[in-house]
Symmetry: C4
Subunit: 495 residues, 4 copies
């Protein structure tokens, strides 16, 4: 079979005829250009060239088969004939320093808590990947407040309780788990680890921790389910498509493949603006090709592009339909106030996740742990406290954070970024160690507050009086930088 | 026609006979010296010389025609005969560094929010211009608290609302606007951009944003109105003159030229002391010519001088007169407590602006967003909530700031400095981009809180419990600098 | 008359026979050693030598006449025969840098507020003098909180008030003053300025500001009264002596010389420990001569020594006696809680000063401005609000601070350190400028809150809701320095 | 008697046969390996070698006699034949710098407060010792909040009280003390001072301060009791052993030797994780020998190992048994909430210590001073306030801290780390000076609040309104380090 050559492909380098190479095979994407959720510009940048590196972390392996007709699959390319793009290979000083740090990375045994992984990740991840994972909305106030809010909750431990043996296991949405936390859904796992989300699947199996499978994973849904072992539990996170038939197919396929719960994302009708992400490498390149710098290019922005299929019209009236197409328990992911929690009960959903999407959507959305207090009070007032399970996520970094949430009524707690950072630095072993550290913290701290099983946790263990006080908030770094401090009189200069 | 020569003019360089050159023409200002609102000293500095550079940003182009009798207009000067004042041209190290930074300015597309413009402005504007725009009263606590107060307000978003299409348009004082914010009045636009306020007019037209025309503009009122296009809306900001006939002429001229509202400034019976401004270049020069350094020179201070015409006796009893001379809706600009809001309703004015004048007047005046909560509660208590429109300004930098104000009852929000900074760095395109960024933030955040039009916003969307808590305030930089920290025992020195 | 020679005096250099030279005259202080309030050690350091430099700032000029019998006055010394003590002249690097800064001091016109003087003083005063003036008790939390507390009070200005003319004058304790503040009593004025407290007297005259004369002045009482001009008003501050006859003599002499009020210090039964002061030069020298370093030398400490005559047994039952020996209005200086304010009324004193002695006595004593709120509420509750005048001092740096105190019910406000700093840097002109700056700030800010005379000020002008909140306090610098921050995992070192 | 040689011992360097040298004598610990509370690994590191240096600070001198059968005591070693382990002697740069600082240590007379000792200790102690003493649980929030909480309590001093003579003495658990504080139990004293806890005993005697003897002392219990002089009072701190007979022997031996009270630790069923300690030298070495870095080594961790004998099943039902085996007053050490204080009264114990174990156990446990307010209110509500003595410890550094606790109802206050730091830097004299400084502060501050004896202290002297406010907490240093700050647009680089 005669292979295509680089020279031949290089001719198709424009809007009129656009071919790209992915994993040694050529594709004609000319007609697909206007439909590309990420916009035309990024594809045109690779028109006539090898796009594999850019393509990989963002697209599950079944993408081209699923979305591009077979007629546009042009076949194998003789890669020896394809010129290596040197411009991409340029390594600047920052990147050089990063690569050096990667060589000197501390051993994983030196990570004693989840924040340690985060700081190693900050120093060793590729800047674009770090920016994508770590960024939040606007001034990242909510991003930071998510963790900080736990610091406004203090313990009221009981002493002289027999705490010889402590049991951390629990049941969430009907499934058993060794711990009251789960690996939550996060996008684009291959940005941090070439294997992507399956790394989390394997670590979850080793430690008996439930995993939620993301819609926007780098691995395909089936790859992640295939990585499951034994009776490992997985859940499905769902962004609802404007085309409900697609959504139906996804949901029913997940149920068929054994997913045990459906988490419908309700806090992201539009994906957020994250300026740290925008300012990263990718964006800089984008800026260079913009024709008119003065105006906001509304077609741009990775997050917005990726989200183009999400239906902003999703509303309460759609819930019965979901209930009709699946038997999985349904969770509303992203509830943020008591009124909506009450509505959720009255709609008959099985659970709600209090969440602000990791501080990535609306800045000044309240931390979930704070909303939890409001929600549990409202549920009790309505006599609904046993009618629904309540989960929270956002900012969880310590065993104490988890215990506080459970004391206040949460059934379980989602953890996202910390596992991404562990995976991006030390791979599967990193994730396993991160989970083990949490288990260690949980066991010790259960003992220290005087509780031996999850069901014993209750509000009397915490002092929550300051949870709603927002008199001091995370530093507004942009304002601080822009503000010109007053100074006292300058002394004359020496001659 | 024989031109005057530099040598001839140079003879008139003192109080007894004082000539100055402005834009190539000579003027005899000897008799005008005592009347100059900015004081004699600054004119005498240029006696017998070319004063154009100093004159330009501070005086509208019609100033000399308006205030100096034709007999004192001496005619054209042969500028080839005028010695260039080298002493003015000296460029110190700080200025050299600034000019270099101007060359390396980031592209406007790298500004992702209003604070980005501010920080670029800080690094690239001439220091005196920056000091004038950015400074506030006393320790600049109110200046900074204006923005910081928004950080004490958190969102309570609704989910599962159909937010497919979001409409940001609104009506303010009877005029339509594409957005619920306007470009507020700010002085001395030519300090930041040689074209002055008309830059804002043009940007406002492009984005359909209302502009308020300042009394202390660098451009003349008519220049700014002439720059208006189509059915663009403009309002008039007014400092009330001790001579009410002048005020009447200004108001009626504005109405005749199509201004749609009259904003009477009530928070500035005297213009504030701003120490950052005082410490800037201009002041330093002034200091050098002061004879007795030990006493406060009460005739000095740009702000105080400019304000000499403002009537500190303006009071509630003047309001009916204003209502008698114009049909424009009347707004009291600078109300700061509930009692005065009630009085305003009972006086029959159409609207009030809650404002502390951008933190430039009274330090420890409360932020408008905090006063808003007090005012709306009082209006409701009196059944007045529909009898008056309430606006706020001060510290607005984010779309979320605007949404918070609207949720709490504001009809619209004024924005000043951010547009000055955008204009001073990237000109008209900068202002357009700043407006577009705000629109983007507004649209996204409306969606994320679950609202699709301005009229849906209400207090249930915000948690405002901490708004009145002043237990942590902006850093007192002067105190911090002057305070000598305690130290632990010093170790002996090595030999 | 044959002069004494240095050689002769140098023989008397020990406990058995101790002569010292002061201002060119010799004194035999052998028998006085055990009585010296500052302890023997410091005198013995100068035994047989010239002690003038050390003696001067701490002792009024009439000290030797008053306390040393004429028989011990040995007469004039031929100073040419006295060896200059080179060891005292050593100038270390820090002192060299200070002297250089003195040369480069900014002109006084560059001081725009009271904190500017403080920062210039910090950089130019001799370190021991700076340490004595600036130091506070323990961790200096109260010292700093005194000013910081004003930042928890915010204004509620009235607008549209005719503020054409503003009158700052008032009456305090029956005496007229141009302003509602006074120069309070502070010790050891010659540490900062060779002329001492008379500098304040002269500046007070020029600006019509009342001065309180300190017991522990460097100038003698009579020198300070002699410096008075015209109908200038002075008050007497009193530390009560264990020997009541001495106290009686002082009080009646002051009344005879025209003092208009008696301020009895009640917050200093023992003078405070100030570690910054202890760590300064003087202390270091003291440390070198201590024999046993391990124990606290209870005989030491300047403050404690100076205060040895103060009567710690002074109590409420002494008040009637004071009322019997003078007709001057009596003020209790240093009241710190409501219960004592009530007692003061019932005792019939004329006024109280709420004060924590400038944060120099008890750390975590509350700021006077906070105590003021408590006291005025208690007085009102008892119907006592017109029975007593209430003053405050501590932390006042801005015109707004003064206005806040007056709004809350204070009759007047004492200011101490700021005038010391102005005097120590720019002398009399410095103090005059400091007063003028305050007057300027007061006039402007009265106008901006909408008041034209002192008696119009009332609580409705301030929002005082956060005054009692102590959730964030001044930084604990010693703790911060001693605390060893947690760190994330260290990267390996490069080889 | 023929001595053993190094060569001979060196053969027994593994699990199968493990000999070690301690203080010049050899021991066969092969069979003891699995029982070693600190784990096998650390012993095996010294198998066949001299382990004295490592052994000493952690084991009281009677350890080998007590726990190793005489048959395993192999006899004297000819130390000349034992090779010095050079690898242990390596001095890195940090250690070199530390040794230099030790030479330049400030004289003890320059320590003016307890924090001064702490900062000298930080700079001069061996890093592992410093890490062990100074570390706290998790993010060390509670560790720091313990002291910080005192800063939320402010004084309400009385004036005009006769405070001529102040008496600091008090009675605690029936024993007289010169002061209302005691030296509390802390582990491993020889880490800081080669003599260990007897240094504290001697200093306590000199200043008449009660000492609590720790279970985990470096000195043996009897050594510490032997060091007692005169009628010096000592108490016993107890970790309860799983084997109650051992516990009974310890308690009854202590009573027999004159201990005056039994403090049963109830807040440490498991000893805490302290990451600073884990990250210190010891841990690093441990890391190097770990085979699989990816998993948490559950057998490791000094604290956990040392605590292996502690009974986590200890509960309220064990209390009567303690009451049956001793006549000493019984104190529950580590109560943390009001409910348990009530229970303690009803159990008939004599006293409780409110404590979070110096912030070393459960992070976000509330400071004892805060719990004290809750506990005293509950006791009063039940009419129990005179039925039990209440003590607190944690974060006490100043005389004012002690006075605040006493005002709020504490009978006495425990102080631990500060005396360890004083002992580790300046030995016995350091501890004596630290106590004297506290006495000085106490005497002065009693005078300044207007109290002359301990029993006069009451809640009216303090303003405690903000004690429970946790809106601003100690800095989360790991989060701060890991967080990547937002930045404004970068300027282009110069070429």
């Amino acid at each position: 079979m005669a292979s295509l050559t680089g020279a031949e492909i290089a001719k198709h380098n424009n809007k009129e005829s656009c071919w790209v190479i992915v994993h040694g095979r050529a594709y004609d994407v000319t007609e697909f250009l206007p439909e590309h959720p990420g916009g035309q510009k990024i594809i045109l940048k690779y028109a006539g060239k090898d796009a594999t590196k850019e393509f990989d972390p963002i697209h599950p392996s079944d993408t081209l088969d699923k979305y591009l007709p077979q007629s546009k699959h042009l076949g194998a390319v003789n890669m020896d004939t394809v010129a290596v793009d040197k411009s991409e290979e340029v390594i600047d000083d920052a990147e050089k320093a990063r690569l050096e740090r990667v060589q000197l990375m501390p051993p994983v045994s030196q990570c004693y808590n989840l924040l340690d992984f985060e700081d190693v990740a900050r120093q060793t991840m590729r800047s674009a990947a770090w920016a994508y994972y770590s960024s939040g909305a606007d001034d990242e106030i909510t991003l930071r407040e998510n963790h900080a809010a736990f610091h406004r909750i203090w313990f009221r431990p009981r002493v002289l309780v027999d705490v010889d043996s402590v049991d951390l296991s629990t049941t969430m949405l009907g499934s058993k788990s060794s711990v009251p936390f789960y690996i939550t859904a996060t996008a684009l796992g291959k940005l941090g680890n070439p294997e992507g989300e399956v790394v989390l699947t394997r670590a979850g199996y080793r430690e008996n921790v439930i995993q939620m499978i993301p819609t926007l994973a780098s691995c395909s849904f089936d790859e992640i389910v295939d990585a499951k072992q034994g009776d490992q539990v997985q859940w499905l996170q769902l962004y609802v498509n404007k085309d409900r038939e697609i959504t139906k197919k996804i949901v029913q396929h997940a149920e068929a493949r054994g997913c045990k719960a459906l988490w419908i994302t309700v806090d992201a009708p539009q994906l957020g603006r994250r300026e740290k992400d925008m300012r990263s490498k990718y964006d800089e390149q984008a800026a260079q090709v913009q024709s008119d710098e003065s105006t906001v290019d509304r077609s741009q922005g990775a997050a917005r592009a990726i989200s183009s299929f999400i239906d902003p019209a999703l509303s309460w009236k759609d819930i019965p339909w979901f209930q009709s197409i699946t038997k999985m328990p349904i969770v509303l992911k992203g509830v943020q106030r008591a009124e909506d929690a009450i509505k959720a009960v009255e709609c008959g959903v099985d659970a709600i996740l209090l969440s602000n999407h990791g501080g990535r959507q609306l800045d000044f959305a309240r931390p979930a742990i704070e909303v939890l207090v409001e929600v549990m009070a409202a549920l009790k007032l309505h006599g609904y406290e046993d009618k629904i399970e309540v989960y929270i996520d956002g900012g969880v970094r310590r065993g104490t954070d988890i215990i506080k949430a459970l004391c206040l009524g949460a059934k379980g707690v989602g953890i996202g970024r910390p596992f991404l950072y562990a995976m991006s630095t030390y791979g599967e072993n990193g994730v396993v160690r991160a989970i083990q550290l949490l288990k260690d913290e949980l066991e010790m701290n259960m003992r220290l507050i005087g509780a031996t099983s999850i069901d014993q946790l209750n509000p009397s263990f915490v002092d929550v009086a300051s949870i709603g006080v927002h008199s001091s908030v995370p530093v507004d770094n942009l304002s601080s930088q822009a503000y010109d401090k007053l100074v006292t009189p300058p002394f004359k200069s020496k001659l």
